[in-house]
């Protein structure tokens, strides 16, 4: 339905954004692409009195290598995550995840920062940044901080962002050339929310896994790091035996919600199947 009435203001700098936000404490929402904020207002899930458009803040734009990391500005649209050569090279899990995010027209407007700040547990990018061991750059009136993705997603739609703070960028550590990656999800139809999804990367030395990072989504209230499955892979080559060990370990990592239409044991089983597929498909970046 039509949106409830609100006041619309543009912030040209972070300072201006904080000022505008603090004036109506608790009743302002930041607007970037608007592809979560606007439908949530149309559905009357929220009705803030003020929308502060932060899309013009220069700090939130751009994709660049800075020292040991790739910094991806929060305003980067999903379509650009999908096509940008620096993302494909240095943050391949984000590029692999992007085609699964919603539909083409949504990807033309939705932003990476908005997606992560919403923290939908069924969304692809939160799990991808978790698996990439990225850091989230947050700026607020108290200064700038970098929060590891592992500490960013706290609960259902709840993140480490304090009221008034702005998610500025994602920092992805530059991967070694021989790191292997894979991403996949199971969804009923193209563009639907995943029933379960997996993002994984691993480092091998002389054919033996020395490090693994695996994150799943649509399996709980937040994206989930599969700590036990990671541990099950380390110290052995990627083989049917080590994959089976990782799949068996998933029961320790996941405690999926029990939904009448989608019982927890079925979701766990799908997660095992998908983890097997993903680990079988691990490749170096293109």
């Amino acid at each position: 339905m039509k949106l409830p009435a609100f006041e619309y203001l543009r912030a040209r700098s972070p300072e201006e954004a904080w000022q505008l936000h603090s004036e109506v404490e608790g009743d302002a929402v930041y607007l970037s692409g608007g592809h979560s904020v606007v439908p949530s207002m149309a559905l009357r899930l929220q009705a803030p009195s003020r929308l502060i458009d932060i899309s013009g803040i220069a700090d939130l734009h751009g994709i660049a290598v800075q020292g040991e990391v790739l910094r991806i500005g929060a305003m980067t649209r999903h379509a650009e995550v999908m096509d940008n050569p620096l993302v494909a090279r240095h943050a391949p899990l984000l590029a692999l995840a992007a085609p699964h995010v919603a539909h083409p027209a949504i990807r033309n407007r939705g932003t990476l920062g908005g997606n992560l700040a919403l923290a939908d547990p069924a969304s692809e990018f939160p799990a991808a940044v978790l698996a990439l061991r990225a850091k989230i750059e947050i700026m607020g009136p108290e200064g700038r901080r970098h929060v590891p993705a592992d500490d960013f997603f706290l609960d259902l739609y709840e993140t480490a962002l304090a009221p008034g703070e702005i998610l500025a960028a994602v920092h992805v550590p530059l991967p070694p050339a021989d790191r292997v990656f894979a991403f996949d999800e199971i969804a009923r139809r193209r563009g639907d929310y995943a029933m379960v999804g997996v993002a994984a990367q691993a480092d091998l030395e002389e054919g033996v896994v020395v490090d693994a990072s695996i994150a799943l989504f649509s399996v709980g209230f937040t994206p989930v790091r599969a700590t036990a499955a990671q541990a099950a892979l380390i110290g052995a080559p990627l083989s049917p035996e080590s994959l089976a060990r990782a799949q068996a370990s998933l029961a320790e990592d996941l405690d999926p919600p029990d939904d009448p239409g989608f019982p927890a044991p079925r979701r766990l089983q799908l997660a095992r199947v998908l983890l097997g597929r993903v680990l079988n498909r691990m490749e170096t970046r293109p």
Binding site: L31, A42, A105, R190, G191
Partner: protein
């Protein structure tokens, strides 16, 4: 309080004061009378309201009119007038790829953007491009056929020019 918005709609500069809660779709339909942009779900699911914003299809129900500041918008009226989608429209007609027509302007936006990026898309790629467009009348088979046929026809008309350029 109304906000002044400057855009270019179908090639013509438009300056209008809009209420912040107006979607781009409401702005196009109610303020500019461009009713070829249809509203279905008003929550970004059905794709009936797609327009081109700076060349890329977007949901006019999810973009606020105030967010279109400085943008270049093309609606089905503009694409029809310039003839940019004339062959697609002809192909939809030939293949009966519409019944009530409510979804058609959105379908044409997705199709036009796809063919601009990928001149010879596979059926799978066409389906993927249309994944955010609902049709509740005909099913999608005829629509996919019509887009595939247009892609092939455009490739044939483009080919002689390319050969000439190569020589």
């Amino acid at each position: 309080m109304k906000v002044l918005v400057n855009t270019i709609v179908n090639g013509a500069p438009v300056q209008e004061a809009v209420t912040p809660r107006s979607s781009l779709a409401d702005f196009l339909r109610d303020d500019l009378g461009l009713t070829g942009t249809h509203l279905g779900c008003e929550m970004g699911a059905c794709g009936a309201c797609l327009v081109l914003l700076d060349g890329a299809p977007v949901h006019a129900c999810l973009v606020l009119a105030v967010q279109a500041e400085g943008g270049r918008i093309e609606t089905i009226e503009g694409l029809t007038e310039t003839g940019a989608v004339a062959d697609l429209q002809e192909s939809f007609h030939d293949r009966n790829a519409l019944q009530c027509g409510y979804c058609t302007s959105g379908m044409l936006m997705s199709a036009q953007a796809l063919l601009a990026r990928n001149a010879a898309p596979s059926r799978d790629e066409i389906r993927d491009a249309l994944s955010g467009n609902y049709c509740r009348c005909t099913g999608y088979e005829a629509i996919v056929d019509a887009i595939a046929a247009t892609g092939r026809a455009r490739a044939v008309t483009a080919a002689p020019a390319n050969t000439e350029a190569a020589e």
